[in-house]
Symmetry: D2
Subunit: 376 residues, 4 copies
Amino acid sequence: MFSTFGHLFRITTFGESHGGGVGVVIDGCPAGVEIDMDEVQAELTRRKPGQSILTTPRQEEDLVQVLSGMFEGKTLGTPIALLVHNKDARPSSYEKFKDVYRPSHADYTYQAKYGIRNWMGGGRASARETIGRVAGGAVAYQVMRRSFPLEVVAWVESVHQVDASGLVDTATVSREEVEQNAVRCPHPEKADQMYKAIDEARRDRDSLGGVVACVVRGAPAGLGEPVFSKLEAELGRAMMSLPAVKGFEIGSGFAGTQMRGSEHNDPFRMKAGAVGTTTNHSGGVQGGISNGEDLFFRVAFKPTATIGKVQQTVNEQGEEVELEARGRHDPCVLPRAVPIVEAMTNLVLVDALLMQQARHPNGAGASIQSEKNGSI
Amino acid sequence: MFSTFGHLFRITTFGESHGGGVGVVIDGCPAGVEIDMDEVQAELTRRKPGQSILTTPRQEEDLVQVLSGMFEGKTLGTPIALLVHNKDARPSSYEKFKDVYRPSHADYTYQAKYGIRNWMGGGRASARETIGRVAGGAVAYQVMRRSFPLEVVAWVESVHQVDASGLVDTATVSREEVEQNAVRCPHPEKADQMYKAIDEARRDRDSLGGVVACVVRGAPAGLGEPVFSKLEAELGRAMMSLPAVKGFEIGSGFAGTQMRGSEHNDPFRMKAGAVGTTTNHSGGVQGGISNGEDLFFRVAFKPTATIGKVQQTVNEQGEEVELEARGRHDPCVLPRAVPIVEAMTNLVLVDALLMQQARHPNGAGASIQSEKNGSI
Amino acid sequence: MFSTFGHLFRITTFGESHGGGVGVVIDGCPAGVEIDMDEVQAELTRRKPGQSILTTPRQEEDLVQVLSGMFEGKTLGTPIALLVHNKDARPSSYEKFKDVYRPSHADYTYQAKYGIRNWMGGGRASARETIGRVAGGAVAYQVMRRSFPLEVVAWVESVHQVDASGLVDTATVSREEVEQNAVRCPHPEKADQMYKAIDEARRDRDSLGGVVACVVRGAPAGLGEPVFSKLEAELGRAMMSLPAVKGFEIGSGFAGTQMRGSEHNDPFRMKAGAVGTTTNHSGGVQGGISNGEDLFFRVAFKPTATIGKVQQTVNEQGEEVELEARGRHDPCVLPRAVPIVEAMTNLVLVDALLMQQARHPNGAGASIQSEKNGSI
Amino acid sequence: MFSTFGHLFRITTFGESHGGGVGVVIDGCPAGVEIDMDEVQAELTRRKPGQSILTTPRQEEDLVQVLSGMFEGKTLGTPIALLVHNKDARPSSYEKFKDVYRPSHADYTYQAKYGIRNWMGGGRASARETIGRVAGGAVAYQVMRRSFPLEVVAWVESVHQVDASGLVDTATVSREEVEQNAVRCPHPEKADQMYKAIDEARRDRDSLGGVVACVVRGAPAGLGEPVFSKLEAELGRAMMSLPAVKGFEIGSGFAGTQMRGSEHNDPFRMKAGAVGTTTNHSGGVQGGISNGEDLFFRVAFKPTATIGKVQQTVNEQGEEVELEARGRHDPCVLPRAVPIVEAMTNLVLVDALLMQQARHPNGAGASIQSEKNGSI
């Protein structure tokens, strides 16, 4: 509990890093939508380890298999079950540490919560669990884009002290630009610095964190459900549920607390016949509901907990011991986090769209926004 | 949708800023718990406007009335309905602006979403909606403290550029210290500066934002449900669902992205016979589950959207107009946000405790943590 | 838990038979719908006791008060809170039996579950709890009928051994016919016999049960969500959640088990250009989804548990005692159950309609049924 | 939507009769429970077709595969994914009828709802979907029986006009007795008559329905959540969600409507130191909560819709056509329905137990019932 996310477009993920496999059941997907499974696979490939020296050298193929819910390339409206088999398991690399709590991992807390854990890898706390999210988000994206010219683009904004914030144009940044380098930062110069920083940390058997930024262009006004499912609340929950995430902010975020109301308020004006704002400190949401401007938010990822350096810790017997991990790991999760952040964004958006659609059948927003709306 | 929060201890809030009243239905509260309604009222009084010149001069009494679910001072296990009647309505102060979209308010987005709105005040987007949350959270707190020596303390950490971060001892800060001044910052000197800053903004017909920090002491290990209801995900959602919130971070948060893994990891050690950590960059959660250390997080509130200065905006007819608001408002919501942040924290915790209890009847965590655990 | 019903059109009821009041919060109601509160009140009046000598002489006025969610006669899309204050409480009539478990009431089970109960009346197990359902259902009906020519008509089909089954034309029976007599059986002769049977039981300090039948005309094909929210599953749950209900059947029900497949199957044929069936043993659902034919189902209500005769029972101290109840009660709940069954039907249908609408914006069913469909 | 059942012990089923496979994700299973997968497989084998000439001759092996959530034979507390691959697909046997709506099947309603369907078999409306339920229920049973001496026994009470009601002793009937014959009726003589009736129908290319009865012995008092998750409401929903079910009744059911209150009420008395009743017309529930007596209910299954006789119907083009099905099918689903009814009962009970446990950690009921209680 709770391995289910979403209200109307609902994913249930399953699987540990070691065991038969990981996957997802997508329930509530609209029927009759053509799904390009190659695109889904492409997202899984973006997420998988072993893409560069920056990421863990585990050679997981992560080939997705459709178990149900599709017929002749289209969704049936019934649950879509997607499975990725686990491979390349090397329990031996974990056996030595089976009773040791790795610092800032979930070993101890899983033991405290469940009284049992699979010590062969990170279990459900492993980034491998996100495979189901990425597959589900990729389906969601195709469902939405059938009707909306929606674009969801995430990128690495900072790694450790290399910061590209303010240097990326949110109005134009594209997945193509993001994919141009292994770091997934669309600013080539900063990407280069990030690459070097990560590589240095890797050689030093250490790890780095950073910030992923994400923009959504083309979302209609009217998405988000007051009061507990405000769009920013659902996005916040979605991102905070990802491994290693320690912070979320939308629009002006924490920096906005240093502005005055008269600076921070976004004046309304007419834009091409529709209501818009001249600035976007709100990040595209007001009162929990999208206002038709770009959604913009940031997600903070801590440095990877798995490092090669010797660390102090305790074991299950309550003895203080030294740990020198030799497992394969990412010195920095940020590049692989990009498709995961996009996937969670898709899942939040598709759910909000369906919810709005349930009550406003003639478009995702009311008539006031009709010129911006499609229908899902 | 969705006006309900929580899975097992579930609140449903209702009510607009103008109309018959606001309130909450608490469903799933354990039976037989003595509830001190004076304490619940006290929390509502902390939340209400008109406490000082820093807050809006509206004289709402906010007296809570119990409609159901209690018998001879104890909970029945049935829904507890709490109602606060609305008073002091002055629709005339809103009438002038009934068709004008106030910048960075939810006027426009509610119109876009619903095609209709109550222009007399902020509707559900008003801070008045939080009355139900505060009442529900106050009941939750009493339920938890029946069994756990749990303490939840929030305070104003910063207002605009006055910053008390690092100056408050999270291990000892108490509600009494927080309540010593109108700003609810437990650092007297910074509180004084904050007071002045807010008063200056008020006189300038402007507004300020800031950060509320919150610590939870005494929470057992084992709380939080992987993977989508991680404790930080539920806290994040809870806080991001509050009016005016733009950011949430737990533990090291955004700043933690600038550390290396070897600095950021929290080494385990034995503390009084139990597993603990020597640092707490994790903020008390690992893998979405509490580890028995203090929970610590921050919430960013934007400057109040209602300001007295003249602003550019548009009206429902799509005309660009000037708005000069004269409504009563808070120049800074931070002081009143403190009990609201605490309330949402209580609601997240009580739900996590009941959830854990459902599967581990002999204490909120498994046996490994028995010395730290109580049972709810 | 769980005092909430529905997924998208969601009611949360609160209140005991004794205490401040009972009511409902309706969350997820589409915005901008004109609601005639007199019609809502009329349904509550149909439900209330004291309508004839057949029902309990308690003089509850059951006047409904709107606390939120409405503006200028229309729904805002925000939670609609409706409250009915409790009146006419006579705890003294219960005090004598405060520690006695009334047979076939919920006194003992509430005590076993919660360890506490309000002995002044039936608490949440009281029929008074259904006020919130009736109010919610009345709003749902108006929402649906804005777009669909939907008719929901329930009636008393049998009381004890007086049976009108097969004598009422489900294709034409109307609320007006049902309301023509105090029993709410549209067959005047049988109604008369039922009246006499109930009156006799009343004078004998005994009680009677019976069956309520219900037909829904005009529901579009495509409603109901496989596999766990099949339309008949949701209807079954809704009806089985009513006080005193012991059975539910749809279409041919239990009698259908005595037919052969070749008799029971409903052949398809074209009807006015649309697919229809020549018989309706299915009761309007196939595979959990409405097929456009009339929905038809029956609900069995046991004889009222409260009787005036002396009964054997035990008290909280575990002593075997005699009970001679003198509380005011209904000798037969059936007449008052009619609006309650209709209300629950409305709640199930509106939820199914919104759910279908979420995924099929161009009508409640897919194009194949367009000629029968409206949109909500 | 909604392929998920349960609140705390939650199953999500997936899969069509044709496609990669069917299965279930069990979320919320308590951790550290030893699960005997052979027992789970045994239940699937009871459910599978081809057990006798009474059931469809399809040779599905239905071997279950564990994908996640188990470690060294114990539950991890994480999602347990169970998969059964589809085999023996013969699309050709369906191809001929791909555009014909089989009477009283879900072909037409799925088309009306989704606008698309997998014509190769019954899709989600197929009995094959229940594999996930049976697997989930088998796990639930083991979880419950770890702590409670709970027994859930279902059997075939009637087939067509052969009726064993009143001839089976609910206090003692065992799974062993039920399994003694292919019909799964523990009354050998009636079983023999049922066998003959089914065989005759089979040879006549026709089908029969009937009633499955179920008793639960050893459930503690206090289970069930007022008001919308009353135990009978959840059981009713669970059973009405099964393919081919048209009715549900608990305790006296429809027959009870023909009794007077003075006959129907169950007098309380002390039984071995605990509160009990002398009769059980209530079927073990009062006010939606178990009272510690045996739970007893009945489920009506219509005759199988698939028959070999020629039938009138229409096709997707709206033409009236004749259908002569030759697919493999069960002439009577009752024998195979027995393990399915038990599985759904287990799922309802385990959820109610966990729910009660969440609020009453010291046993599933309050202290009043401590002598009957265990803890899960």
